[in-house]
């Protein structure tokens, strides 16, 4: 079971967290101005990254807060976690652990 670094609470076991999908996808402000295709892309199309993937997590059974994480999809290991509004850190060349 992974340990996940909650930016608010520190290192906690994976079972306290819930995955929240790909990060950095803002809900369009003026959705009525989008074409059907643009809206469909927002709703359904996500990256299927091999390697570092920016994604949302929520410390549901802890502080309850959402945060973002960079995770290596080939090892499952978290490369970094960061607060909402912060930009994603660059993926380290050599993933830790």
């Amino acid at each position: 079971m992974l340990l996940i670094q909650c930016p608010y609470c520190g290192e906690r076991p994976e079972v306290e967290f819930v995955y929240g999908g790909q990060a950095h996808i803002a809900r369009p402000q003026q959705s009525s101005e989008l074409s059907d295709q643009q809206w469909t892309d927002f709703l359904y199309r996500r990256d299927n990254t091999r390697g570092a993937h920016a994604e949302r997590w929520r410390h549901t059974h802890g502080c309850g807060r959402f945060f973002n994480a960079l995770r290596d999809t080939t090892t499952d290991h978290f490369l970094a976690t960061y607060r909402l509004g912060e930009t994603a850190p660059r993926a380290p060349a050599e993933p830790p652990g």
């Binding site: 290192e11 959705s31 709703l43 309850g64 909402l84």
Partner: protein, 1013 residues
């Protein structure tokens, strides 16, 4: 001493403590310290089981956890029957009752052995090829026969009466394996001040030291091995190291989480009543040292599976640890240095060594001298052509092979054959943790290369076999692990800082100095057209011929060959077979072993009981149970409960001998004609509070909330951004900045999570709080024409139709208890929902019920609630919707706030597919025969007798008998349904197509006069 083959002294057994036990009903004796295997050997019993496929007689191949053949069942009582235990791991206790498996009628006479004669017809993958035709024979003949023959052992049929415990632990250094390397690591880590845990699968710590004979016990640091062991254990105890014997590390999970299974009572004759049988540990270690040792490889030659043919190291264990002579006349066949020691020790113990057959072209000079000076005949460049003996080996045929031709063939009489193909390091856990492996040519095996976790390997599991080297290797690993774990500034278990993760390549100490040097992976050379079965995988009965067949049939990937032949797929996971299989495949494909690759190691390292995983989560503790404050009253009043999520909800309140149907009919009529009382406490409730609460609600729900006045309620519909109905519920505005939101019973957590998601991530600028209040409010629904009369006498608020119209809310008190009183209805009658703090729920309920009794108040359950709402066409999200239903589909288009710029799902509702007129829409159905109640889920066809397959027009979502209407009713989703009112559709049912008429989903009081009374 009754055991004929027990030596008079030596070993780690207590000859004075005689233990009685039985095997297949026959009585034997052993002594304290024995395993079932060693005790049977001491009694001269070598036949312990029958093999899986060919039912060949099998004995003991190994003396440890890797034993593939000697699987037995141990029975304590009718419920405590454990199959598939390795006899080598079953500790003897007084009265132990063991049984052999996979034989009928008895071990000595087994009818299944006919499979051995049929073996030409059942090669690898035969079940894919043989049972193809005729097709109809599959169900009636082939499958039942295969199922009867499949499986090992027999599962216990009674519930497991034992207790199982679980425990979490944290430590600086976890050491897996308590042999010389592991114990040295523990001592070094503990001396450096680290918190250390050590586990070992055996009952006693010591690993290979336990099997060392007097000859090799030359010792460590000037002490004998036994002395060093007891000194080290005393030192570890003094340093408060956690020592866990009988504890197998079976899984290595990310971030140094290692799962251990500790066996607490299986070795006891009479465990205490409440003592847990096993304890499963989840250990989170800052650093892990793997000192898991190595497993000796068998040699692959025809007839290598007879009882009496075993690994050389196993014989040393029987002799030195248990004081048992495994035979009287032995032939040793080896490709590795280690077996010479076995030959010399057995000879010293009085066993005649008929031949030491060295597979390598030349024997190492030092060892050859030792053997010669002991008078042991030595044959180099040897191979084995075959063996004989039905239930015990009687003779072995040795030879040399040159270019496929036999020379110097000879048959030697013997009752024991020892073999050694070298040692396979136990890299299972290291590999499970995603550490990479590298092939080592000198040792003919894979060794750990780069660790993926904060782990180190030490000793034999990384190819360091010599005792002194392994001990030094362990001490270095333990010291390094302690240093890392306790480094200043390290506060997390798994900091992201980079560390040197190389496990350390094997030091280039000359391979000839290594006790594990030499080795052979594959099958011994045979003459052309050799006969006889040469086993690779003892447990799944896989032979060299099966592997060759697979490569001839075109399999090249080792993963495919493994699955096709099932080699390495038995419960022993190929502990003794995987490398030999690789060697054979490598030769057949003409590719070196590292190119053939290795199959994946998976947890568990050994089979683990289900009880250990279940722990205390059984029966009533399997899942949490949620009860409302009125639960006790419902029990006292005869409620029948149903599970709704984790909630226990009263489904109906039968009177006398009433069945569900009769009770629901009575409850429905009582609500329609007088009044009913219903426990609605399980409804999800969320308090949305803050200056931006109304903005938040506007963006979330489809409804227009700005126009909702304080003191009024509205039916809210929540979509996801995909435009489909997600949840619904009444929302009350109890203050300008405060909403009391209700959700479906099952939907409360996901609605709150969705709200939190949008609040935190999309609209963090909004100022409001979300609080789950589901369990803070007890909700008493009072529904029916007399509802107002009943409640008026108890409350301090004006409940008149003018003061409290339908869909209003007031704060007040009831019987002196603060309340929020809603005028809402999910029944279609005049209705109120009394919300009081949960602690007052039961008392308020009883007061309301007492006040209602003179008016005919009747308690009703969820089933009546369902019928009443269906009569009114009110949907239940998740029953009448399925995640593909828009508000308009469900007839809820009216709820949408048309002038709002945005809400969740608004944009999706504008897509062409979402407004298509032939979407499935909610309609009512009336069967032509009013007595017929449709099945929920029944499909609906435009024509009767439609051929299969055909595309249905829709399906039934809710269906009941309505006592109020005196007939059946149903709700359904039907393509273009609202425009089809009056049409006839057909529901195919087992008894034939049922004609139904499409109608409005509102069956009762369509104008809502009763509701607004």
């Amino acid at each position: 001493m009754t055991e004929a083959l027990r030596s008079s002294a030596g070993g780690r057994i207590d000859r004075a403590r005689v233990l009685h036990f039985s095997f297949d009903g026959r009585a034997y004796t052993g002594v304290a310290g024995d395993t079932l295997a060693s005790a049977l050997l001491a009694n001269g019993v070598h036949l312990l089981g029958r093999s899986f496929k060919y039912h060949r007689p099998r004995g003991l191949l190994a003396a440890g956890v890797e034993e593939p053949s000697a699987l037995v069942a141990v029975r304590r009582d009718a419920a405590r029957y454990t199959p598939n235990l390795r006899a080598t791991q079953v500790e003897l206790y007084e009265g132990l009752e063991a049984h052999s498996q996979n034989r009928w009628p008895s071990l000595a006479l087994d009818f299944g052995a006919v499979n051995d004669l049929l073996s030409p017809f059942i090669p690898a993958g035969f079940y894919y090829k043989t049972f193809m035709w005729p097709r109809r024979a599959w169900r009636s003949l082939y499958e039942p026969r295969i199922r009867a023959a499949a499986g090992l052992g027999r599962a216990p049929i009674l519930p497991d009466p034992d207790r199982y415990a679980g425990r979490y632990a944290h430590c600086d250094v976890l050491i897996v394996g308590a042999g010389p390397a592991g114990l040295a690591a523990a001592a070094a880590a503990a001396a450096a001040g680290a918190r250390v845990m050590v586990c070992d699968e055996q009952n006693e710590f010591g690993g290979s030291l336990l099997s060392d004979g007097a000859r090799t016990a030359s010792g460590i640091d000037g002490r004998t091995g036994a002395r060093w062991l007891s000194d080290t254990l005393a030192e570890l105890a003094a340093r408060q190291v956690t020592l866990l014997p009988r504890t197998t590390a079976f899984g290595y999970f990310p971030h140094n989480l290692v799962a251990l299974n500790e066996r607490l009572t299986d070795h006891l004759a009479a465990p205490a009543a409440l003592q847990p049988r096993e304890r499963q540990w989840q250990v989170r270690a800052r650093e892990v040292v793997l000192a898991t040792g190595a497993i000796e490889r068998p040699l692959v030659f025809p007839g290598n599976d007879r009882p009496g043919i075993m690994l050389a190291g196993a014989a040393r264990t029987w002799l030195n640890r248990y004081g048992v002579l495994p035979g009287t006349r032995v032939v040793v066949v080896t490709a590795s240095d280690g077996a010479y020691e076995a030959a010399l020790e057995l000879q010293q113990a009085g066993v005649a060594v008929a031949m030491l057959a060295e597979v390598r072209a030349t024997a190492p000079a030092r060892l050859a001298d030792l053997a010669r000076s002991a008078g042991i005949p030595l044959l180099t460049g040897a191979t084995v052509l075959g063996t004989s003996g039905r239930r015990r080996v009687k003779a072995i045929r040795l030879a040399r092979i040159r270019q496929g031709e036999i020379s110097e063939a000879q048959t030697l009489r013997c009752d024991l054959v020892l073999m050694s193909g070298g040692y396979t390091p136990s890299v299972h856990l290291f590999s499970q943790s995603r550490g990479t492996l590298a092939w080592d040519d000198a040792l003919q095996t894979f060794l750990p290369a780069v660790a993926a976790e904060r782990a180190r390997c030490a000793g034999a599991c990384r190819g360091v076999f010599e005792l002194a080297d392994a001990r030094a290797d362990g001490a270095a690993a333990g010291a390094a692990a302690a240093h890392e774990a306790t480094a200043p500034g390290r506060d997390g278990v798994y900091p992201a800082a980079a560390v040197d993760r190389s496990s350390g390549a094997r030091t280039a100490a000359g391979a000839s100095d290594n006790a594990g040097a030499g080795g052979f992976a594959g099958a011994l050379p045979q003459p052309r057209h050799a006969r006889g079965k040469a086993f690779v995988d003892w447990q799944n009965d896989v032979t060299t011929r099966d592997l060759s067949l697979a490569t001839r049939e075109g399999f090249v990937s080792i993963e495919h060959i493994k699955r096709y032949t099932t080699t390495g797929m038995a419960t022993d996971q190929g502990k003794t077979s995987s490398l030999n299989a690789l060697g054979i495949v490598s030769r057949a494909l003409g590719k070196p072993i590292p190119e053939v690759g290795l199959t994946t190691f998976r947890m568990p390292y050994v089979p683990v009981t289900f009880g250990s995983f279940a722990g205390v989560a059984r029966g009533e503790l399997f899942d949490p149970v949620r009860c409302t404050p009125m639960h006790a009253w419902a029990i006292a009043n005869g409620a029948v409960f149903e599970d709704v999520g984790l909630w226990k909800r009263a489904r109906h309140f039968p009177r006398g001998a009433e069945d569900l149907h009769a009770a629901v009919n009575r409850e429905c009529l009582a609500v329609r004609n007088a009044c009913g009382i219903f426990d609605a406490s399980t409804l999800g409730k969320i308090e949305v509070v803050g200056k931006d609460a109304v903005t938040f609600m506007n963006r979330l729900y489809v409804n227009a909330w700005s126009s909702l006045a304080v003191g009024r309620c509205r039916y809210g519909v929540l979509l996801r951004d995909d435009g489909f109905v997600y949840d619904d519920g009444v929302v009350a505005r109890v203050a300008e900045d405060r909403f009391h939101v209700t959700t479906t019973t099952g939907g409360a957590p996901r609605v709150l999570a969705l709200m939190e998601d949008y609040l935190q991530t999309e609209w963090p600028d909004l100022s409001l709080w979300l609080t789950s209040t589901t369990e803070q409010w007890a909700v008493i629904a009072v529904q029916g024409p007399k509802a107002r009369q009943v409640l008026e006498s108890l409350v301090d608020v004006d409940m008149s139709a003018q003061a409290m119209p339908h869909m209003s809310v007031v704060a007040g008190s009831i019987c002196g208890v603060p309340m929020r009183l809603f005028r809402v209805s999910f029944s279609g009658e005049l209705g109120f929902e009394v919300n009081v703090p949960s602690d007052f729920g039961a008392a308020t309920w009883e007061a309301v019920f007492e006040a209602g009794r003179p008016h005919g108040m009747t308690p009703y359950g969820t089933e009546t609630m369902h019928v009443l709402r269906a009569e009114k066409g009110y949907i239940i999200v998740g029953q009448d919707t399925d995640g593909t239903v828009t508000p308009d589909d469900a007839g809820l288009g009216w709820a949408i706030g048309k002038n709002k710029p945005d809400f969740l799902g608004k944009r999706s509702l504008q897509r062409p597919a979402m407004t298509s007129p032939d979407r499935r829409q909610l309609v009512g159905l009336l069967t032509v025969d009013p007595r017929v109640v449709l099945d929920e889920g029944a499909q609906l066809m435009a024509q009767p007798g439609a051929p299969v397959p055909t595309r249905p027009e829709g399906f039934v979502t809710s269906s009941y008998h309505s006592a109020t209407l005196g007939r059946s009713i149903a709700l359904a989703l039907v393509a273009g349904g609202r425009a089809r009112s009056g049409q006839t559709l057909y529901a195919p049912m087992p008894a034939g197509d049922v004609p139904v008429q499409v109608t409005s989903p509102v069956f009762y009081d369509p104008k809502g006069e009763r509701l607004n009374a």
